[in-house]
């Protein structure tokens, strides 16, 4: 029994859907993904509209939009290279198609490297919330942000504060805060605030999708020669389906970028 007898319409279009079954299945999967990310976007909208006045920061104030813009450029470029890989296969140019897939893979890797630096920065930056205001840098403050926190139970807390005025990279000499005046010590991780919890949830899930895409693209680069020899159409279709998924991941980022980093 041949392959086509076991799985009908795996290459030729199905008369009802107008496309091969794999592609239709991929579209249904993407529809479910819309609902997944849609639910999370809904949560974001509800939490933001429900937040007390003045407590929800503009993304730009707490996140680095320049790095996010660089990542946006990486992803839209990778979308072009992905669709070009498919077009090159359609023109029977396997070598060029593999190059395009490799560039897509590299751009996805660059996206994740930028994301690593973003996350790492947030998880190594601290905020000490005070019980009573204290003088710092000529101002009375209720919170102090900085790096290299020493926070041992029962002992006073030390922190290297950021320079006042917003430059988080410029540090001051360490200061000590009495334990009795410390309400809460936290990193700028998900536990810091509702905004950052939403940020890490949405970008974390999106990042997992990037990694998933990289695994499949990596496999296609590795197995392209073998699949091409076996059946040209199957490789073209697999690259097309992977492309559909990859463009969807790009599409999600197109909405995440302004919503989280700019508004």
């Amino acid at each position: 029994m041949s392959d086509t007898a076991i799985i009908p319409h795996d290459v030729e279009p199905h008369p009802l859907t107008g496309m091969y079954n794999g592609k239709f299945g991929l579209w249904l999967f993407l529809a479910s993904e819309v609902m997944l990310f849609g639910a999370l976007f809904s949560s974001y909208v509800l939490l933001r509209t429900g937040a007390p006045e003045g407590t929800w920061p503009r993304g730009e104030e707490i996140l680095n939009w320049k790095l996010a813009m660089l990542n946006t450029m990486f992803l839209i470029t990778s979308s072009v290279t992905m669709v070009m890989a498919w077009a090159e296969l359609k023109m029977n140019r396997l070598g060029k198609a593999k190059q395009m897939l490799a560039i897509t893979f590299a751009l996805a890797g660059a996206f994740m490297v930028v994301k690593y630096f973003e996350y790492s920065d947030k998880l190594h930056h601290y905020q000490v919330e005070l019980v009573a205001p204290m003088m710092h840098d000529g101002h009375e403050v209720m919170r102090i942000t900085g790096h290299n926190v020493v926070n041992k139970e029962g002992e006073d807390v030390t922190i290297e504060p950021d320079a006042h005025g917003g430059d988080a990279n410029a540090k001051h000499a360490p200061i000590t805060i009495e334990r009795s005046n410390v309400k809460r010590v936290t990193t700028f991780g998900p536990a810091h605030s509702t905004f950052l919890a939403v940020y890490f949830t949405l970008t974390g899930l999106h990042g997992l999708h990037i990694v998933g895409g990289m695994v499949v693209i990596g496999y296609l680069i590795f197995a392209a020669d073998r699949i091409w020899k076996w059946n040209h159409e199957k490789l073209i279709n697999r690259v097309e389906c992977t492309g559909l998924y990859w463009h969807f991941v790009d599409l999600v980022w197109i909405f995440l970028f302004p919503v989280l980093y700019l508004l």
């Binding site: 107008g18 909208v45 937040a51 003045g54 929800w56 950021d162 509702t194 599409l251």
Partner: protein, 124 residues
């Protein structure tokens, strides 16, 4: 997709380059509009509306040209439209019905970030 001759595909490639250019320009527009909106003190509703409009145009370009939705059968389009409708309903029902807790501190599980402190974090 329809034909797959070299000439056809070259034509498609040209479209892909143009869409890429449009996406890059729209990304810059998104950032510029957000900056202008902040300095001009637009309301959050205006800023959100413009940002989502630009993002929707970008998303439509990706879906129509990179994902070839523009040349697929209408049935697929309607399946996705139905999906989008469900999403809008999911979004709208809680927003339109929950008048009680909007803007109240009881809605916040952890101590909120005050804008003053957020500004001190700028640059990261």
């Amino acid at each position: 997709m329809g034909g797959s001759s070299a000439a056809d595909m070259q034509h498609h490639l040209k479209i892909y380059y143009r869409v890429f250019g449009a996406l890059a320009v729209l990304t810059v527009i998104t950032v510029v509009v957000a900056q202008v909106g902040f300095h001009q003190e637009w309301s959050i509703a205006t800023a959100v509306a413009i940002a989502l409009l630009v993002a929707s145009i970008k998303g439509t370009l990706v879906a129509c040209y990179f994902m070839h939705l523009i040349t697929e059968k209408a049935a697929l389009f309607w399946i996705l439209a139905l999906c989008a409708l469900f999403f809008v309903v999911l979004l709208a029902v809680p927003v339109l019905t929950d008048h009680e807790s909007m803007g109240r501190a009881a809605n916040v599980a952890v101590p909120p970030v005050r804008l003053h402190d957020a500004a001190a974090h700028k640059g990261h």
